[in-house]
Symmetry: C2
Subunit: 237 residues, 2 copies
């Protein structure tokens, strides 16, 4: 076997729920942040933000540094490590082992982007570089799973919101519509969201202004562990 050097890189799939004019101007969609390659290999295809790990940084530090080249990292409300893409021939040339990350930007943020960078609907990706399309699919799969057993929605939602807006955000992230009444009931019962006590300035259809809710936490936690498996509390008799 010819010995190749091995390079370690990070790739970050940054998602935001956004409105696109196409196909449906009224319905927000899950979008991913991509930049277009201006050089070979794979000139013209679209890539995830990322690049080579430096000698003096760990993966999380590297992910934040590389992300900062494409987007204001203060707008990234959640960043977590996904799996590693380690197929020996996943890219041509030197072997590149990719540590992948999931990043989430709230719907209310509008970060400035460089000229080569744009949001694309996950449902209609452009020609993607190497295996980056597979990385997007894995990241979306993780997001969908975590929406169902954690409070990760906090990182996609604005600070406060009507349930009708939250339903749109969940629907976009999941890829199918959910019922607003069920959503409110389940997320409230699990302590994921709570009422702010305030109402929106006015209702969409001129009716009664809807109640505003917020996420109870701004960092991720598992929200529905088996109660039977919780550790004993210190004041248990």
């Amino acid at each position: 076997m010819i010995h190749r050097s091995t390079v370690h890189e990070v790739l970050i799939a940054v998602f935001q729920v956004r409105a696109f004019t196409d196909p449906d101007p009224d319905s927000p969609e899950l979008a991913v942040l991509l930049w277009q390659r201006a050089l070979d290999p794979e000139l013209g295809t679209w890539s995830l933000p990322g690049g080579t790990l430096r000698d003096d940084e760990n993966l999380a530090t590297s992910a934040r540094r590389q992300l900062a080249e494409k987007v204001d990292v203060r707008s990234v409300a959640h960043l977590e490590q996904l799996s590693i893409f380690s197929e020996p021939d996943r890219v041509p040339g030197d072997r590149r082992i990719a540590s992948t990350f999931l990043g989430l930007v709230p719907i209310s943020a509008e970060p400035t982007l460089p000229a080569d960078t744009a949001w694309h609907p996950v449902s209609a990706l452009p020609a993607m570089s190497f295996d980056h399309g597979t990385v997007v699919a894995h990241a979306r799969h993780r997001l969908v799973a975590k929406l169902s057993y954690t409070n990760i929605g906090f990182a996609l939602a604005p600070v406060d919101f009507a349930i009708s807006s939250l339903r749109e955000i969940y629907g976009a992230a999941l890829g199918y519509q959910v019922d607003a009444t069920n959503l409110q009931r389940v997320l409230s019962r699990r302590g994921v969201i709570e009422p702010t006590g305030r109402r929106a300035p006015s209702g969409k259809a001129g009716g009664r202004p809807p109640a505003l809710f917020r996420f109870a936490d701004n960092s991720i936690r598992v929200t529905d562990e088996f109660a039977a498996l919780r550790p004993p509390t210190p004041n248990t008799p």
Copy 2:
């Protein structure tokens, strides 16, 4: 900066619930598989199974190959990727980026081990090599979390079991005791375990033989997703 080469390695924390004579001969404990280093660096300390990634293998392939050097891999009922340890100076010499894995062996398996390898209670680890003790702590943390929202217990339990035995296994893995009645109720309601229709040969105390249960699945799944977020089924009106 002096340029060092970077090596990619895998490390696997393999857990099994086992009975140890010390401290309590009747109470099984969570144990981890370790081997003792016969050479420097860190001669005499205990390490997790693992080693360097080869040019022609991906991480999962490598993990299984390296595990096979220490334990019969057919006894490993579950193997999943954990986080990457990438601190630049985590080991002396060349930089080593470690991809870590969690492996689980059922209580009923008794795999043959090489002379340098032994099970150690997680509650009383020997002097550990490098950051391997931290890897064990991370792996245990993941196991505890997944016991609370998945069916991962299948990979620690025997094929069929009385609830009193399952309670011991969960208690050992979690690090605190759980109530057998609650455990049976919650795991049954979520479809994680189901009755086999059979009873054990005889009760421990000579009483009525206990009913035997089994796990409904032998691969991992999230068992308590929000029902409100399930995808629509094709036959929904």
